[in-house]
């Protein structure tokens, strides 16, 4: 028995392919990113000059960089303050209806399996100032056409709405699964004791799904730090850098204008910022949510 399952050669053979790929595409890139971030390398030439922390200093003193950080923060705040309440409300609503539950779940989830690029194109059409759905709809109420994606006061909000439209349903389904897994008896007991639907939702269901909401917030933060394709497709960071996030800022410098070293320093900063926010969230908020067993 043990002989068949203790064969070092076979073990290594089975572990190696996946592990080499893991090292090559997760660990090694982190190392090269850190290494290159201290150089002024353009990504092509043979001679690589180390310039210490200059790239980081350049980034820190660039107003456009801080603007992109601010937009990442908007992304996070919009997810946590607008999306999360909607997610909770709608998952409670779906959990409590008897009919059409399957339809709601399926339909709500659909946008999240689609290509962000195509969603970006679709919403670019909806935001079209002349005949897009948004202005046509607002036009019915006599609102003047708004240049959603080319007006720097509206562009960021337009992207946030699109992003929320794509991902809210995904999280609703996650929270819904958690709500459904709560034993019925808890709710019934509270109902017998005379609790109203509202009281049961607030005092029984919500506290019990707090851990999963915490996961949703974590994933939203990770998603907000990752967002790049939706911006590239819809506005390319414009108008005038007003929708740039850290990732698009990085891409612009590193690939489009060959500042490979500088781009890598931004990659390291994205990594560090994501880790800091995740750690802060874990320490300050998530720590209090223990696992719930029924």
């Amino acid at each position: 028995m043990n002989k068949a399952l203790r064969n070092p050669l076979i073990y290594i053979l089975f572990v190696l392919p996946a592990f080499i790929l893991f090292l090559a595409f997760f660990i090694y890139p982190i190392y090269t990113a850190i290494d290159n971030s201290f150089t002024s390398w353009n990504g092509i030439s043979k001679d690589v000059k180390y310039i210490g922390f200059d790239n980081y200093a350049t980034a820190m003193s660039d107003v456009a960089f801080w603007k992109s950080v601010k937009n990442n923060v908007y992304f996070i705040l919009f997810s946590c303050l607008v999306q999360v309440p909607l997610i909770v409300i709608f998952s409670l609503l779906i959990a409590n209806v008897k009919r059409l539950k399957g339809l709601y779940k399926t339909a709500v989830f659909a946008p999240s399996i689609m290509s962000t690029a195509v969603i970006g194109i679709l919403w670019g059409f909806i935001y079209n100032p002349d005949f897009g759905l948004m202005n046509q709809l607002l036009g019915l109420f006599g609102v003047e056409p708004i240049y959603w994606l080319s007006d720097k006061n509206w562009a960021m909000l337009s992207i946030l709405i699109t992003n929320a439209w794509q991902w809210t349903g995904f999280y609703i389904v996650m929270v819904l699964a958690a709500i459904i897994s709560i034993p019925k008896e808890l709710d019934e007991a509270a109902a017998i004791d005379g609790a109203t639907g509202w009281q049961r939702a607030m005092k029984i269901t919500l506290p019990l799904v707090m851990p999963i909401i915490s996961v949703v917030i974590m994933l939203s933060i990770a998603g907000a730090m990752k967002a790049a394709d939706i911006i590239l497709v819809m506005t390319k960071g414009g108008p005038a850098g007003s929708t740039d996030v850290m990732a698009t800022y990085m891409i612009r410098y590193a690939i489009t204008s060959f500042k490979h070293g500088f781009g890598n320093s931004i990659a390291v900063l994205i990594f560090v910022f994501t880790m800091i926010i995740t750690a802060l969230y874990q320490v300050l908020i998530a720590r209090r949510n223990e696992r719930i067993e029924y």
């Binding site: 089975f14 572990v15 996946a18 990504g43 195509v118 590239l232």
Partner: protein, 275 residues
């Protein structure tokens, strides 16, 4: 009163459903209208006469068939390779008797889930250039395979761990070695989890945009999402034709979703992969 109370949640949910589904209908309706003028004149409903030319033109102008096959083959091949490698690793760490090393390996792989992957895009771009495979499909397949490994290992390992030990005892007594045990016993039993993981990986690869956009510059090699954006930039004067293009690229995913929605929802939420 009671009926009213039951109706209220449905009103809110229907409103939400409308917000989700109407944009798709809007594109579908627009795709059978003649041009921008007729979209502007009648934005919300169906046109009086259906024009199917847009579909033909989009298919020809956007050369959708080429890009469709590129996406399909890259997506399927990468998903299969990551499942094979992930299943082998999962088998080794859950079923073979090297518990300490296996625990360390598994923790390493879990770490991979935490790394924000667009901060890795640039260094990977550098590696691809060093390997001199930029602008070939390998430049997408390798990162796609690697990127899916942590998630696939986690799901497959969880599933394999739940298989009873008696199965392999019986197999070993019947004379199977570890290789045969993996290929003939464990792998077939893991098929339900493999299907889920395959769909998730495939959809992720099919939809991927960032790497596909920057790692390939040869037009013939591009994938469907990248091509759609290029098509939008080239034909954004003609929204009716663009809508037809959107329909082409959304339809395959919607069909897969309609057939396999339970598996997809279960898989995506289990791994909680996003984007």
């Amino acid at each position: 009163m009671r009926a009213m109370k039951k109706l209220i949640p449905h009103i809110f949910l229907m409103a939400y459903l409308l917000v989700i589904l109407y944009p798709f209908l809007f594109v579908l309706f627009s795709s059978v209208k003649t041009d921008n003028q007729s979209i502007a004149a009648n934005p919300f409903g169906l046109p009086d006469t259906f024009v199917l030319d847009n579909y033909v033109n989009a298919w020809v102008n956007a050369k959708i068939s080429t890009y469709f096959w590129n996406s399909l083959y890259i997506g399927v091949l990468s998903a299969c390779l990551s499942i094979l490698f992930a299943a082998m690793l999962a088998f080794a760490i859950t079923r073979m008797r090297y518990n300490r090393i296996s625990a360390i390996l598994f923790q390493c792989i879990l770490l991979g889930m935490l790394i924000p992957n667009n901060s890795l895009m640039l260094p990977i771009y550098g590696i691809m250039r060093q390997l001199d495979i930029l602008n070939t499909h390998m430049a997408l397949i390798l990162p796609y395979v690697a990127n899916a490994i942590p998630f696939s290992v986690i799901i497959l390992a969880a599933f394999m761990r739940s298989l009873p030990g008696e199965i392999e005892e019986a197999a070993v007594i019947d004379g199977l070695r570890s290789g045969g045990l993996f290929a003939r016993i464990i792998l077939p039993l893991t098929v339900p989890a493999i299907v889920t993981v395959f769909i998730i990986n495939f959809l992720g690869n099919w939809n991927e945009f960032l790497l596909a956009n920057y790692f390939l510059s040869n037009d013939e090699l591009r994938t469907l999402p990248v091509r759609m954006v290029g098509f939008r930039d080239a034909y954004n004067m003609n929204y009716a034709q663009m809508s037809a293009g959107i329909v082409f690229s959304v339809l395959p995913v919607l069909i897969i979703y309609a057939i396999l929605q339970e598996k997809i929802i279960e898989g995506v939420t289990a791994g909680s992969v996003k984007g």
